[in-house]
Symmetry: C2
Subunit: 293 residues, 2 copies
Amino acid sequence: MQTVLDVAAMQSRAYRHKRQGESIALVPTMGALHEAHLKLVRRARSEASVVIVSIFVNPTQFGPKEDLDRYPRTLEADLRKLEALDVDYVFIPSAKQMYPEGFQTEVSLKYLPKHLCGLSRPTHFAGVATVVLKLFNICMPDTAVFGLKDYQQYRIIQQMIADLNLPIRIVGVPTVREEDGLAESSRNTYLSPEERKKAVAIAQALQRIEDAIVKHGKRDAGELIELGIRVIEDAGGRVDYVAVADPDTLDDLQQVQKRTLLAAAAFFGNTRLIDNRMVDLSETVEEKDAENR
Amino acid sequence: MQTVLDVAAMQSRAYRHKRQGESIALVPTMGALHEAHLKLVRRARSEASVVIVSIFVNPTQFGPKEDLDRYPRTLEADLRKLEALDVDYVFIPSAKQMYPEGFQTEVSLKYLPKHLCGLSRPTHFAGVATVVLKLFNICMPDTAVFGLKDYQQYRIIQQMIADLNLPIRIVGVPTVREEDGLAESSRNTYLSPEERKKAVAIAQALQRIEDAIVKHGKRDAGELIELGIRVIEDAGGRVDYVAVADPDTLDDLQQVQKRTLLAAAAFFGNTRLIDNRMVDLSETVEEKDAENR
């Protein structure tokens, strides 16, 4: 495993692999690696002959009052974990190399960021899209692997790839959960033991909404959102949003449709956590048919 | 010479050439090809083994009151000219393929477009940057060739390439001029014979400013701009701007510096024309030294 700190060095190595006809898979991360990241890396390992993991806590995707400064940095442990997974390159650029003096180009999307997390983090997704495009151009992946826990991010990168004609396939990996159901996140380390116990409410809220849809035939989005808010608030969480949305446009739905995204963001203490579930009613019907057989 | 209408077909052909270790040069155009375009193509021919010329009248870089609908289309003549120059591919995508339903990604720059033409064409350069990035991703050039007549565009693409870490070298080709000095432009065809005669004033204005700097030692930007405006207005042109600017930032200068961009835009009739000259005082001194030897 090679650790590469320099943008030009990473790009020339990636270029050499491409010229030799090798395929590259990239896993962009902000470090503080946990089991869900490792699942992305294993998926990347199965997709390409060369695996690059980038570790970059991208300042431009944090708002002025957000947690850039206290975002967990665990580089040594991260490198050990990646070494064990047979990663070829860990790319760790500095902010100064990524954003040199005079830097001024931004990639933004018109509609997808105007939903869900984008409403309370208005500059976040332009920061994400821009840095991911830079990482794509530096690392030249054939395949890019993202976690579906950040579904809106996944959807935005997918749209950017299509809109900009990038010759890259995006792979979304299902959310990894703790035993009680809490989605894995580097930000879970911020939680006090008490907050940690309560935080599972965000996953439970979405599970309860899914049950209301699948088991109880509920279809009215307003009613479902109220249910989700109640579950989170009853546990002592402060809701940012609970949404019932179209998975492609992220537009709010009035009624549940065949494929429906359930998404939520909430604070436990000062820690903002997100989660989502996809409800696919066509699948459910088939499963039920299968059970009945 | 192959004419390619389909985005995916162009991209797979470009990809194949890259995999074979060939170099690609791209000349992005809006068609209506004249001698200055052909100079770009000849330059591209000397730079790479595969030459792609794109012809796409990009709707997103025209403002609502601009000349998108009447922009000259001369495809047959264009193809004949390119055939004669040993071009490998002419890429002619449709607007529908370039901007399919749901398209929403935009590349914008924070500072460079807030000068010169960007002031009267506020959405122009985001349209240019976005379409050029798409063309880069589709055609995968090692070298991209642009005319320096559109200096601000050249500078913006150069900055975008650096900021987004695109593995592309940009080449700027000096402006081609008619016998009287008017810069070649597809929009010159809009001019009536009388307007055509007057239009040379924009080139003359910049030449007069350069003379004032080099021969008469003038340094005050305000005075030089006034001189330029007078020359254009005396010929019956309506000035959009005459600028004395830093060639890197495009910021207005108070005083001429070692390298100074002189730029102007003006209307003759309904036709908006632009032109620029670079004044390099260090070069001039050397030339004088050479003359004195």
